[in-house]
Amino acid sequence: MNLFRMAWRYLWGRKLVTILTLTGIALGSALICSVLTLHRESESGLLHESSQFDMIVGAKGSPLQIVLSSVYHLDIPTGNIPYSRYEALLKDRRVASAIPIGLGDNYRGFRIVGTDPRLFELKDHYDNSRLLLHVGSGRLFQDDFETVIGSTVARQTGLKLGDTFVGTHGVAVTAGSSEHTNFPYKVVGILADSGTSTDNAVYTTLPSVWRIHDDESAIHARMAGADVNPNQDREVTAVLVRLRVIGLRFMMVPEIQKKTESMAAVPVEEMLRLYKQLLEPMQNVLLAVAGLVVIVSALSITATLYQSAERRRRDLAVMRALGAHPTEIFTLVVMEGLLLTLLGLAAGWLLGHGGLAVASPYLRDSFGVSMAAWTTDPIEWKAFGTVAGCGVLAGLLPAILAYRREPVNDLSAP
C-alpha cells in the first residue's frame, strides 16, 4: 500500500468534491490550451500567409484594406489601378514577380479573382519545394471563364469539376445584385486544401473579369446614351509583388506612394499591426480569464484538501500511531493535491485540444485558419507546470497543519 494509492483512495472516497474540483481545473487548463493554440496558429497563419508577398500595390486608401482585400479576400478593395502600373512593375528590375488580380464579382459570397496563371507557378516562400497554390484535382484554367476553385468553395457550394455557375456583381453578397447570366464560368480545377484564404476563392483569368465588366460598362453607356469605347483603359485591383531583395520594399513603398497614383502596402507589417492592436489584447484578456479560473481552482483545491485533512484528523492520527512519519503524512496530503491537479490538467489538455480538433473544420471553413490542434507548445507545458505548482502550493497549507498536529488528541475522537 503505497502513498500514491492511499492518496487516490482518499480522493475517490469523496467523489463529488473531487469531480467538481477536477472540473474547475480542467476548464481552466482547457481554456489555457485553447487560447495558446489559437494564439500560435493564428499568429503563424497570419504571418505565413502575409509573408508570401513582399508588397501589394493597389489604389490609394488604407494599406490594411489593400492587404485584407487582395491577400485574405476580406474587406472591400480600395479601388482599381491602371494596368500600365502593373506593366511598369513587370519591367522594374527590382521586382522578381508581379501578379495582377482583378476583383468585382462573387459566387455565393466567395470572391472571383481574375489573375495571371503565373500565380500558380509561385513557390511557397517558406518551403521552396511546394507551390503556393496547388491544383489538387483537374487542371489550371487556360481559357477565359474557366475556373479553379478553392477547396472550401468546393465543399460548401458542392461545385465539381465540369460544373458551371454564374457570378454575381460585387465582392460580397448584397441584396439585389445582378447575376452575369451571359457569362457562365466552368470549373476545371479544384485547389488542394491549404488552410489559407485561397481555399475561399475562385480563380479565373483576368480577361474573364474584364469581359464581364466591359459588357456591363457598354450596357451602362448605352443606357446613358453615350458612345461605347471599345478601347477603354484596362485596370487591375492590385498587384502582388515579390522583390529580388526583400529590403528593397523600404525604398519602393515610399517611391510608389510619392511618384504614382497608386500606393504600396507591406502585408506582414499590416497584419502584425492588426494582430498587435486587435487580436493580441483579446487573447491576453482570454489568458487572464484562464489564469483566474486556475487561481480559483487552486483555492478550491486548498479548501478541499484542508477540509479533507480536517475531516481525516483521526485517520492521520491513526497513521501516526501505526508508525507513519510526519513527513509521510505531509507527502500524502501534498500528493492528493498534486494528483488532483495533474488529473485536472490531463482532462483540460484533452478537452482543450480535442475541442479545437473538433472545431477545426469549422474554423478552417469560416476563417480560413487551419490548425495543428494536437500540437502542444513549450509555453503550454510551462503554463501547465505553473498550474501543477499551484496544486502543490494548494496542498501545502493543509499538509503543514497535518504535519504539525499531535496525534494524541485525535485518536480518541469518536
Partner: protein
C-alpha cells in the same frame, strides 16, 4: 523476543497536564513493569488516567520527568521520527472505537499498518495480512469496507492490524467497550490468543473487572497514578 527484557518499564514519571485555578496539575505515575509476553489488565474508573498511561507508554505523549522503556528502549532518547518508526515496529494498538481507516478495505487497513510499521519486506506483506485476517475469522471480508462490517468484525480487523508487525507489546484501550457481551467475550478471547501466538505482551485497559480477572495480572490504576496539584518541576 528477548524474554529477559521487560516489555514495559516505567520509572517514576510525571506529566504536566495543565493548570487548575492557576496551579499546575500533574499526572504522576509510580514505577512498574510488564514482562515480555505478560498479559496485564489495567483497571480503574473513568478519568483516573488509564488512557493517558497508554499514550505515555506508546510515546504519543512524553513525560516531563522520569523515563519509560519499551522492550529495553528508552522512549525519551528517541527523536520524533525514530519514535514513530519504533512505535510502528514494536507496538500494536486496539482502540475502543476501532480507529479503522474508513476509505480502506479490511485487507488494506492491515496493509497500511504494515506499510508504516516496516516490519516485513513488501513482498511478504500481502500474504501475512491475508493470513492474519483469516486467523481472526474474516477470510470472506478481506475486501469489505469498515462501514459495511459489524462492530465485532471491525474490531477483528483492528486486532489483525495491531499484530501485523509482530509487536513486542499490544496496547488495547477498552477494546470491548463498544461490543455486546457475546461479541466482547469472543474479541477478548481472540486478543489473548493472538498475543500468545505472536509472543506479544498485552497491556489492556478496561473497566470490566470480570474481563480483567481473566488475565494473569491485574493492576488497579488508582494505586499507580496520582494527580498532584502544586509546583511541578520541568
Amino acid at each position: 523476543m528477548d524474554a529477559e527484557v521487560p516489555a514495559v518499564e516505567v520509572r517514576d514519571c510525571r506529566l504536566l497536564l495543565g493548570l487548575s485555578g492557576g496551579d499546575p496539575v500533574a499526572f504522576e505515575l509510580k514505577s512498574f513493569r510488564i514482562e515480555a509476553g505478560e498479559q496485564t489488565a489495567l483497571t480503574g474508573p473513568s478519568g483516573c488516567g488509564k488512557s493517558t498511561l497508554l499514550n505515555l507508554v506508546a510515546g504519543l505523549r512524553r513525560p516531563d520527568e522520569g523515563c519509560i522503556l519499551v522492550h529495553g528502549t528508552e522512549l525519551g532518547g528517541l527523536s520524533s521520527s525514530k519514535l514513530d518508526t519504533f512505535r510502528g515496529a514494536t507496538m500494536g494498538f486496539v482502540f475502543q472505537s476501532f480507529n479503522l481507516l474508513e476509505n480502506f478495505t479490511a485487507l488494506e487497513n492491515v496493509l497500511v499498518g504494515m506499510r508504516f510499521g516496516r516490519s516485513h519486506p513488501r513482498s511478504e506483506r500481502h500474504a501475512r495480512a491475508v493470513s492474519l485476517l483469516e486467523r481472526v475469522g474474516l477470510s470472506r471480508r478481506l475486501h469489505s469496507l469498515p462501514g459495511r462490517m459489524s462492530v465485532g468484525e471491525r474490531q477483528r480487523v483492528a486486532i489483525a492490524r495491531a499484530i501485523a508487525n509482530r509487536p513486542a507489546l499490544l496496547l488495547a484501550d477498552e477494546p470491548t467497550g463498544a461490543l455486546d457481551p457475546a461479541t466482547a467475550a469472543e474479541v477478548f478471547a481472540l486478543i489473548r490468543e493472538v498475543c500468545v501466538e505472536e509472543h506479544c505482551a498485552l497491556m489492556l485497559v478496561t473497566h470490566d473487572l470480570e474481563l480483567a480477572a481473566q488475565l494473569p495480572r491485574q493492576v488497579d490504576c488508582r494505586g499507580l497514578i496520582h494527580h498532584a496539584a502544586g509546583e511541578v518541576a520541568r
